[in-house]
Symmetry: C2
Subunit: 141 residues, 2 copies
């Protein structure tokens, strides 16, 4: 299926959960495609000297899971991503599973926009919070 | 060098520019590591049926360039990424160069935080705008 929900199919409190384990290979690939080679993500020795004590995933990689949940599930393909706010509250370590929950909190029918609450958790701890604003095109016939 | 600027070394209007061409391989790798397989990024035929007309890069991949500029250049390793706001204003197409500019706009010495204006452009057109908040640890001796 390459068509997601239409605006009319969304309802307040509608929610999806997306789970992804962050591997060392994921972090290295993310560093490669973005150029973010900060050693706190890639160099165990350097990371051990920081307050984190071990390598952490890029915050923007975790944010990518929000994009995945929105772009593939709620509302899925067809929506246009307009805004995202992100608060990085705690680190994500290599090997941890990130549970991303996206919940519809506002629907503006006139502007065809929806606001989604976006929360990422690791082992029950909130690691990223924020909100997304998306636009949904008119339903195709 | 694995140590970036300290808070004391930052000044208002200090700025860096980071350039990265988005390749098809980058977009596929980003889809792989995040799970964001929305066909608007990966499927030329599907993308041709959208308002974009051709595949577009994930907005969060472009946001990764902001992370790269902050994590490797200004202020570089040692800072802690606290917040990022993102407005996705226009699409980034495969093969385009994204020019990301990060500029210091506020410094809070007491809280050891800095606010950065973050702008991504493609061929002179603004594609992503936002602000980052970072914390800088106390300067090491």
């Amino acid at each position: 299926m390459t068509t997601g929900y239409t605006l009319e199919q969304l309802s307040i409190e509608q929610s999806v959960e997306y789970r992804k384990v962050v591997t060392e290979a994921d972090v290295h690939a993310f560093a490669e495609v973005t150029g973010d080679t900060n050693p706190v993500h890639l160099d165990a020795e350097y990371a051990a000297s920081t307050s984190f004590g071990q390598p952490i995933a890029h915050g923007m990689l975790t944010a990518g899971f929000i994009s995945a949940a929105i772009g593939t599930q709620l509302p899925g393909p067809g929506c246009i991503y307009l805004e995202q706010s992100l608060k990085f509250r705690a680190p994500v370590f290599i090997g941890q599973e990130v549970v991303t929950t996206v919940t519809v909190i506002d629907i503006n029918e006139r502007r065809r926009r929806a606001t989604l609450k976006t929360v990422c958790e690791c082992e029950g701890k909130v690691v990223v919070t924020g909100e997304a604003v998306i636009m949904l095109p008119a339903a195709s016939v």
